[in-house]
């Protein structure tokens, strides 16, 4: 399992390449069925996340290179939550210019001030509740004036 997870960590999220699919919490299970066969359970982030198709292909390709057949099983339940994103990945998101989602409290997340990922100011405003991808919303910092993405709490 550990080896498999390490291997799967090489696959970046197609839309946010600084984080990988394991630290994003998409990979739920990875097991070796036989010497040349593995079974990987993944959980989609959003119902329509287009990255999920690429991720499945990437997993199959990764193992094919090692002459291993990967069976990818998509499981919706338990449903994916941004709480599954590791702390390390949150920091990577911030350094990349995306404010990471708050943990827990999913109902009230709209009212929590979003920190600018560049200058750290909490004096920011929402430009749009929706962003360039399903997982993001658009914000702007009132201090350094830079626009930034917020990874929606989900």
């Amino acid at each position: 399992m550990n080896n498999l997870l390490e291997l799967l960590s090489q696959i970046p999220d197609p839309e946010i390449p600084v984080i990988n699919i394991v630290e994003l919490g998409i990979v739920r299970e990875a097991k070796r069925v036989s010497d040349n066969q593995v079974e990987i359970v993944i959980t989609p982030t959003y119902s329509a996340c287009p990255a999920m198709f690429n991720i499945e292909e990437d997993i199959i390709k990764l193992f094919k290179e090692k002459e291993i057949t990967a069976k990818v099983i998509t499981k919706i339940s338990p449903i994916w939550t941004t709480d599954w994103i590791t702390d390390e990945a949150r920091e990577k998101l911030r350094a990349y210019g995306i404010t990471p989602p708050e943990k827990g409290n999913h109902e009230d997340h709209l009212n929590i001030p979003k920190k600018c990922p560049r200058c750290g100011s909490e004096n920011t405003k929402q430009i749009s509740r929706f962003g360039s991808t399903l997982c993001k919303a658009s914000y702007q910092c009132n201090d350094c004036l830079e626009p930034f993405d917020y990874f929606k709490c989900h």
């Binding site: 919706i76 709209l110 749009s128 929706f130 399903l134």
Partner: protein
Amino acid sequence: MNPLYNYTLKLADDTLIYGQRLGELCGQGPYLEEDIALTNIALDYLGQSNNFYKYAAQIQDLGKTEDDLAFLRLEKEYLNCQLSELPNGDYANTILKVYFFAVYQKILYTELMKSSDEQLAAIAEKSLKEVKYHYTHTSTWIKMFAGGTEESKMRLKNAVENLWEYTGGMFAETQGEEDLAKLDVVPNSRNLHEIWTKTIEEDFQNFGIAIPDSDFMQKGSRTGYHTEYFGFILCELQYMQRTYPNCAW
């Protein structure tokens, strides 16, 4: 026909047609951020419909795929509500249409999460998070329209009058649905309608707008009777799959 298949199909068709209709605004939204917002919502609908179609195909067990169900059925075989087919109209009309559906989906998915059918419960729980977001977005807009200029108030009022008679269709039942409800596989549609009406009444009171007096509701949803607009949607929706058979999502 299997009642569970019918029911799953109604959920799939609603979200597919809602997504297709809203997707028409891609590149034509009133301004950039809203264009992106509407397309995000449309994409959520398509994702939900994909999940429901996959499950419906599994229940049907005839070796069909989600693509076959979404793109190769005939007009009378679609069980979506007529509200989903109506043209986008002006911006107040577009937003109100999504708002009515968001309130419905929020109530529906909250109840469906408790279903004894694990797959329906899982899709409902997954989709509920997305729908809550749609609700927040559209109700914020309606509040703005209602408290805005004479023009925005007038347009919102027109939209309410235009759409109201189609709202009842969301709660129309598919064949065998009542039996499923008795077995707690799906929520009771009449209960959903009551909760929906109560929620709308409370919201409308907050917004300061009135609900039409008329009780008249269009019939035919869920039995394959559609509005005059539906054939045109299907032409566009099915074009790719019929022209390039077996192309995948």
